[in-house]
């Protein structure tokens, strides 16, 4: 497999774009014509060839540009990456998981040679070669979690497990849907989910937590989450709301197809071996409405989902202000025909 990495930006001039292949493999999150919260976890054990579910850590045409964007965000705000002192072992566990997975799944892009604790890592797309001693942080330029998450698409949280709960005690968060690691660090599962409407009364978090506390090594799980973002911006953080919040007001019937993006998170959860922590990568995929409607099934379905979504969910996901314009635009691509089951395009 060869991947041509895009030269593109996720801020200022927003030159981000999806190739026709990237459109076809987009993880469209709706398997039916309506949406409500559920504990929609399934085993993360491969998936359709070419889809983002196929490999343990998906690498796509946006890889190099996303890592550049992360570097910019981190330079402006180093608190996007934090690890409480007891999480270093979990950081090593995660580094191992990513390096082993990527070198096995993308041998032409990544190589890992191990001789006991002496490791040799080659990342060709980013031009990195590093020799280091596993579990010895003085042999890396930064902590193990920061080191590997500067080379891995998506945000990443490391959750400590204790007292029958999960605690967000480390993370790298630069492409988030309006939440802040600096605010959430040290919180438990119920605390960091407190702002989500409706789901608490449905018992969703209690069931999900019970499931995750029993998550087994070698049996990762995944789910899709989604929201809407104006312009293809990765860093929609509370810290920078002043930069992207006003952009929501720039949507017009003329530009909505190009500027309004569906933002999908492929979330995976992994039990880590030495630390017993859970790694929680949150991988973000962006696609403009005009790219979505190139797949007729998706155009019809997204129209129905957004039209019928309860108000508080549209409010929480931050697009209530633009919902009428979005729904009007999508209505042009919904001929009322039935849609086939599942998320994949016809």
């Amino acid at each position: 497999m060869t991947i041509r990495f895009n030269d593109e930006t996720f801020r200022d001039d927003y030159t981000f774009h999806n190739s026709p292949e990237a459109i076809r493999r987009f993880p469209f999150p709706f398997d039916q014509d309506s949406y409500m919260y559920s504990v929609n976890l399934e085993p993360h054990a491969g998936g359709r060839a070419g889809s983002p579910f196929q490999n343990r850590f998906d690498v796509d045409e946006h890889y190099v540009a996303e890592m550049k964007d992360r570097e910019i965000t981190l330079a402006e705000d180093p608190l996007r990456c934090q690890s409480l002192p007891h999480m270093e072992l979990a950081g090593w566990d995660f580094l191992e998981l990513v390096m082993v997975s990527k070198s096995e799944d993308y041998p032409e892009l990544f190589t890992l040679n191990r001789d006991g604790d002496r490791w040799h890592w080659i990342n060709r797309p980013l031009g990195i070669e590093q020799r280091f001693t596993f579990l010895d942080p003085t042999t890396l330029p930064c902590g193990p979690m920061e080191y590997i998450t500067r080379q891995t698409q998506g945000d990443h949280a490391l959750l400590d497990q204790r007292d029958g709960n999960l605690w967000m005690d480390a993370g790298m968060v630069t492409s988030q849907a309006d939440w802040s690691l600096d605010f959430d660090i040290g919180m438990n599962f119920y605390e960091w989910h407190a702002p989500v409407p409706k789901a608490h009364e449905m018992g969703v978090f209690q069931r999900a937590l019970k499931f995750l506390l029993n998550l087994q090594q070698g049996a990762p799980v995944r789910r899709l989450n989604w929201t809407m973002t104006v312009n293809p911006r990765l860093d929609t953080s509370p810290e920078n709301y002043h930069k992207w919040g006003p952009e929501k007001r720039t949507i017009t019937p003329e530009n909505v197809g190009a500027k309004q993006h569906l933002r999908v998170e492929l979330q995976t959860l992994w039990r880590l071996p030495r630390s017993n922590a859970i790694a929680f990568p949150i991988r973000c995929y962006l696609m403009s409405l005009e790219d979505i409607v190139t797949q007729p099934k998706w155009g019809r379905r997204l129209h129905r989902v957004l039209r019928d979504l309860p108000d508080e969910l549209a409010e929480y996901k931050g697009f209530a202000v633009n919902r009428p314009v979005i729904v009007d635009y999508l209505a042009r691509f919904d001929d009322g025909a039935d849609t086939s089951p599942g998320i994949f395009p016809d």
Partner: protein
């Protein structure tokens, strides 16, 4: 449950009642590493009955060349430990689950105090290796009645942080002395008989320890009891024998139930009760006191029933 088929590489008696077993991958592949305090569930095909018992891993968590467990023979038990002692030979193949940890170290601690009584030493054997590797301050206290019964002696490394208390030799463990004077930020972990866990909790409370710094292995074997019958939604009835757990009876009847620890700690097998005419004997550490009193949920791995009729949401 993801399972591994492993070869029994060694069987070594440590004391008249306790035997060590070592498992390795049949093709010599590395096994998943784990964290100190983790257990595996071993499947035992015993003359037509599939037994499953959980055992703490006692080997080095950072060593994937094999898994080791120490099994105490319980002749009054349900037969699993007897099977391990009498039937399992080097070269046999057994199915075990991937490691699961319900008793992990709190890595925030400034110091770790490990207190093991009898066979309760097992989870600490792996934890002390992890602590040594991570260069974290710890001390371990191992209490046993007599030197002959103290199987753990053969498994403990010779380290100054390790203290052995043999009550027969007049060297009873003094919990007050152990728990007083520990530095702030110390966490204490207890595994052993219920009485030992309660004594540590009482002593710690008296000395003003914060509850969050106390950890205990709430693991237990399914207790025997009188036979009883449960009814499924379909109206089908299942008989539970005196030395059988409800979970084992359901499995023998091919009724599917999720499970993980099989010791009343993980919550995975929680099952709804739609009608209860009698009393559920809750033995688990999962349900809250209110949930237990309501009699609308049962943990079939360890809990039993007495009375006229118990109908499960299965």
């Amino acid at each position: 449950m993801s399972a591994l088929e492993l070869r029994v590489a060694a069987v070594e008696p440590l004391s008249p009642l306790v035997t060590r077993f070592r498992f390795e991958h049949p093709a010599g592949a590395a096994l998943p590493l784990f964290s100190g305090g983790a257990h595996i569930v071993v499947e035992m095909p015993d003359a037509g009955v599939l037994r499953r018992n959980a055992y703490s891993l006692i080997s080095d968590p950072m060593d994937g060349s094999g898994y080791e467990i120490a099994v105490r023979r319980e002749d009054a038990g349900r037969g699993g430990s007897r099977f391990m002692h009498t039937q399992v030979k080097p070269g046999d193949t057994l199915r075990v689950t991937a490691p699961i940890n319900l008793f992990s170290l709190d890595l925030r601690a400034k110091k770790h105090v490990l207190i093991g009584g009898g066979i309760g030493i097992t989870p600490f054997l792996a934890q002390l290796r992890q602590l040594t590797r991570l260069q974290m301050p710890f001390e371990l206290h191992y209490a046993a009645r007599s030197r002959a019964e103290a199987a753990g002696l053969a498994l403990l490394p010779d380290l100054p942080q390790i203290h052995v208390h043999i009550s027969e030799e007049g060297n009873r463990m003094d919990l007050g002395a152990i728990l007083s004077g520990q530095p702030l930020g110390t966490h204490v972990y207890t595994c052993g008989p219920e009485g030992l866990i309660a004594a540590v909790d009482d002593t710690a409370a008296r000395l003003g320890w914060p509850k969050g710094a106390l950890h205990s292995e709430a693991f237990l074997s399914p207790p025997p009891g009188t036979p009883f019958t449960v009814t499924l939604k379909s109206g089908r009835t299942i008989e539970v024998g005196p030395h059988q757990s409800l979970l084992e009876a359901l499995e023998a009847a091919e009724v599917e139930v999720n499970w993980s620890c099989r010791g009343g700690a993980c919550g995975r097998c929680e099952t709804g009760v739609s009608a209860c005419h009698g009393r559920i004997e809750h033995h688990d550490h999962w349900l809250s006191d209110e949930e237990k009193a309501a009699q609308t949920k049962i943990m079939p791995c360890v809990s039993r029933f007495t009375g006229e009729m118990l109908t499960l949401d299965l």
